[in-house]
């Protein structure tokens, strides 16, 4: 044992290990660090592979939880008082505008980051299994898709809470699209709203879903998502590293470090080395993973804070069922669907094709179904796992990107180019002014 430690050293040695022994030991001696493998590949650590988007999503979720808790002390979920409580947060609560702004922009950022994370995982074939036995990355992909849907639902339920015109009519549009679902549409809407209209029942249901139910679901799925990564041997790029190692023949080296890949490959310690844990390919999680995590956390926090200061959180007139917003728009992440709904309402002779069914149920249903099923439909070889634009997956990547592009274009049109009366405005045209009282 080294010489007697100072108090400071005793507290922080797991974060600043000073020997190989301490680095490995810290993972099993620290509650937060036991989350991580003791060694992590350079490829996994790199920014260029994963863009650290998964971490970004998690950090945003943490920011949303913290700001959300503070806001829960200040916001009142009753139709008579909700709007006034949000006004008070904006004007009369110390730093209220900033916390609300951070919460709102964090929410939008999280939807965006989770979406881009999904794109990254698809493009790198991260949903595919690799060389080790017992992997189940397709399962983790499904967990991820459910996390994406939960994120969208979290944002949607939160959108209603200010109880202003923006909130009221966005949720009207959203829940009416759900109405178009065959057989279950009406019942779903009825249960979601706690009635037929958007009133106190809807507000309190959305509030409980938003503050308790959905965050719990996300937390549990997140834990499972992380656990699956450990069980799968790490990020998909690790399998690439393992494949590369198989091509190189190395001297047998005695090592006490076991890797899942080594054991799962039914090799003894002496035949091939600790494989991926070799110094060439990996390093200690403490402190190198932790440091990079710190950078990712701070970068996300700084980005969110700057956005929150630069972009004001909107609050329109108090919700008024008698006066419809013009235009009445769903939240931006559903605007591609609303645009589809508007564009797929077609009339042939006496027959009308219900756009809400096509754009609101069928198209997203098919896309979600394909998304969930794709890992099982994918026939590409293992060499395409954990690589950006692996040549064997070129075609599916291109089709995927094309669909994403369509979604992005529809979202841009719906957000920036649809003005009052859903008229199409080019970016240089000014929107018509709506009449006022004075």
């Amino acid at each position: 044992m080294p010489a007697a430690k100072t108090i400071w050293k005793k507290l922080i040695w797991t974060w600043k290990p000073e020997s190989e022994f301490e680095a490995g030991d810290s993972i099993v001696k620290n509650l937060l660090l036991h989350w991580f493998p003791s060694k992590v590949t350079f490829e996994s650590l790199s920014f260029r592979y994963s863009l650290w988007l998964g971490t970004g999503s998690a950090v945003l979720f943490a920011i949303l939880t913290l700001t959300g808790i503070v806001l829960m002390f200040l916001y009142v979920p009753s139709v008579e008082r909700a709007y006034a409580s949000v006004k008070d947060i904006e004007y009369a609560v110390a730093f209220g505008w900033f916390l609300r702004g951070l919460h709102r922009i964090g929410a939008h950022l999280m939807v965006f980051v989770v979406f881009v994370h999904m794109i990254r995982v698809f493009l790198t074939g991260g949903y595919k299994n690799g060389v080790a036995a017992g992997q189940n990355r397709p399962l983790n992909w499904i967990i991820g898709v459910v996390l994406l849907l939960s994120t969208l639902l979290l944002s949607f339920t939160g959108y209603l809470l200010p109880w202003d015109q923006l909130a009221y009519w966005a949720i009207t549009v959203g829940t009416n699209i759900a109405l178009a679902a065959p057989m279950v549409g009406e019942q779903t809407r009825f249960l979601l709203l706690g009635g037929n209209t958007i009133a106190q029942g809807a507000l309190i249901r959305f509030y409980v879903l938003h503050c308790f139910v959905l965050p719990t679901v996300v937390l549990m799925l997140f834990a499972w998502h992380m656990w699956r990564i450990r069980k799968d041997g790490g990020l998909a790029c690790v399998d690439q590293v393992a494949l590369q190692q198989k091509r190189e023949k190395t001297q047998p080296v005695k090592s006490k470090t076991y890797s899942l890949l080594g054991i799962a490959g039914t090799r003894t310690v002496h035949v091939e080395t600790a494989l991926v844990d070799e110094d060439r390919y990996a390093t200690n999680s403490s402190p190198y993973l932790t440091r990079r995590l710190l950078v990712a956390i701070l970068a996300t926090a700084v980005l969110a804070a700057l956005f929150a200061i630069g972009i004001e959180a909107p609050l329109e007139e108090p919700a008024n069922p008698a006066v419809t917003s013009n235009p009445a728009k769903a939240p931006w992440y559903f605007l591609w669907l609303q645009e589809l709904v508007a564009d797929t309402t077609l009339r042939f002779g006496g027959f009308t094709l219900n756009g809400a069914l096509v754009g609101g149920i069928i198209v997203p249903g098919i896309l979600a179904g394909l998304l969930l099923m794709w890992p099982y439909l994918d026939r590409s070889p293992v060499s395409a796992t954990g690589v950006w634009f692996g040549p064997e997956r070129l075609r599916q990547n291109l089709v995927f990107l094309f669909i994403i592009l369509l979604i992005v274009i529809l979202t841009i049109v719906g957000t920036f180019m649809r003005g009052p009366y859903w008229v199409l405005y080019w970016p240089w045209e000014t929107w018509v002014q709506l009449p006022r009282l004075f």
């Binding site: 700084v302 700057l306 200061i309 007139e317 006022r436 004075f438």
Partner: protein, 301 residues
């Protein structure tokens, strides 16, 4: 020896940026607009009335909460001279409120916005006065700025619209000159021959009992020049009904600018008053003897 990776350096850089951002937010909290007004007012009072009286001026956010009206008004954070005797000539926001009306409508019982309009929640002048449509507040402060954008005869009289929301059953309300004029015209011209007013009248024209509650999108502005505003619509309509709706059978009464403003104000004041019965005054049905003033007599029909 390969240099250490620059992660910690990057982390410290981010930490520094976050510190600057946090610092900015703190600075913004500790230097709001109203603090300047409060210190200016303090020095003003200290100069005129002495340091001791200046010490009594409350600092920080002030609000008047009127639970019966479900309103909270923070106007008095900047409008500190509202009840100060001697500040009647001071520049706004320090000017004292005319005392006569304040005695009948105390600050504690009424607040400010129920009469003046504006956004009581707000703590900066622009948001509180809520003149701009960007603010999404449909109840702007009824004063010069709004009046000038509407090109009315007398912008400062717009305030009377709100008087009439409670005082609508008065034949005559002291201090509401334009509203009184409008009510006189309504009874002289017998608008109830075609319109329902206060629940009584014919149905040849629309029911005007709650005309002030009608949403702006229900009006047709094609023949209304300038701002698309309900008030403007009424001004043009009273000037000559057929200018706005060519098929209208409403006669042209040749109202002058004073009458059109008065009538537009009256119609916009006909709203559902959502307040407790104790706030609705008993109607004053006795008008004073009207002064014979040929200048305001409209042309004989």
């Amino acid at each position: 020896m390969k240099s250490q990776n620059s992660d910690m350096g990057l982390a410290y850089l981010m930490g520094f940026v976050l510190l600057v951002v946090t610092g900015w937010v703190y600075w913004d909290y500790y230097r709001p607009e109203w603090k300047e007004y409060q210190s200016e007012f303090r020095s003003m009072i200290a100069e005129r009335f002495g340091e001791e009286r200046a010490q009594q001026i409350p600092l920080g956010l002030q609000q008047i909460w009127v639970p019966e009206l479900n309103r909270v008004d923070r106007c008095v954070t900047c409008h500190l001279g509202v009840e100060w005797e001697g500040m009647e000539e001071a520049p706004n926001p320090f000017r004292a409120h005319p005392s006569g009306i304040l005695e009948k409508h105390t600050l504690i019982q009424y607040g400010c916005t129920v009469c003046h309009g504006g956004q009581g929640f707000a703590t900066d002048a622009e948001s509180a006065h809520a003149t701009s449509s960007e603010l999404h507040w449909e109840d702007p402060l009824l004063y010069k700025e709004i009046g000038q954008s509407l090109q009315v005869n007398d912008p400062t009289a717009l305030l009377e619209i709100k008087c009439n929301i409670c005082h609508r059953y008065d034949a005559y309300t002291e201090g509401a000159e334009y509203i009184n004029l409008a009510k006189e015209i309504v009874s002289q011209r017998r608008c109830q021959l075609c319109h329902k007013i206060n629940g009584q009248g014919a149905l040849i024209g629309p029911d005007l009992t709650y005309a002030g509650d009608l949403s702006p999108e229900h009006y047709d502005y094609t023949n209304v020049p300038g701002k698309e505003a309900v008030f403007n619509w009424h001004l043009v309509h009273f000037r000559n009904p057929k200018d706005v709706s060519p098929q209208s059978v409403m006669p042209n009464f040749n109202f002058g600018p004073r009458e059109t403003q008065a009538l537009a104000m009256l119609v916009m004041s006909w709203k559902r008053a959502n307040m407790p019965a104790s706030y609705i005054p008993p109607p004053n049905l006795t008008p004073p003897a009207p002064p014979a003033d040929p200048a305001t007599e409209p042309a004989a029909q």
